[in-house]
Point group: C2
Chain length 102, copies 2
């Protein structure tokens, strides 16, 4: 399934903010509660919520509600999708040295 150029740009927006990079690095340790992320980042709760929405909309992160808490984790499927789109986008045709080919 081919993504539109607009959708592709949209997806990569997940990765072009310093705080979202920090969030992803925190989630590399595994699923984390929003409140824990909030403790580690010097931003307000609404700002965190905003970034989580962008990450979830891009399907790089998935959220799971448990009672009052929201647990977030990196989506392996979303991450793989982003990687393969990036590989496909930067692979010069006829060179075939992209690790994600086929």
């Amino acid at each position: 399934m081919e993504l539109s150029d607009k959708k592709t740009a949209e997806m990569f927006k997940a990765f072009c903010d310093e705080n979202r990079i920090k969030i992803l690095k925190l989630l590399q340790g595994g699923e984390k509660c929003a409140c824990v992320l909030l403790d580690d980042l010097h931003i307000t709760q609404p700002t965190l919520s905003h970034h989580m929405k962008i990450l979830c909309d891009a399907e790089i992160v998935v959220g799971r509600k448990e009672g009052k808490w929201m647990y977030y984790s990196i989506s392996p499927e979303g991450a793989d999708k982003a990687i393969s789109v990036l590989c496909a986008l930067t692979d010069v045709h006829g060179q075939g040295d992209c690790c994600c080919k086929e």
Copy 2:
């Protein structure tokens, strides 16, 4: 060499604009003159120049001047760097299923 979170975000900005996605797709066919890119995109010459600067600053694209013309192409090294940073960023520790690991 580890990139700062800020630098990482900066790098991915190369991929989060619809026109830059289109430019990369055009460059997949191989090196192209700026004037050729301009013909294929519905943007003005200064706008193209602006986007090419962002792509070159991010080291995803390299430019080569030949007389009056500028030829641009995808930098395999820059692309590989971006891919490996993305892999490293989205790989959940202890899962080790990233194609770019090691």
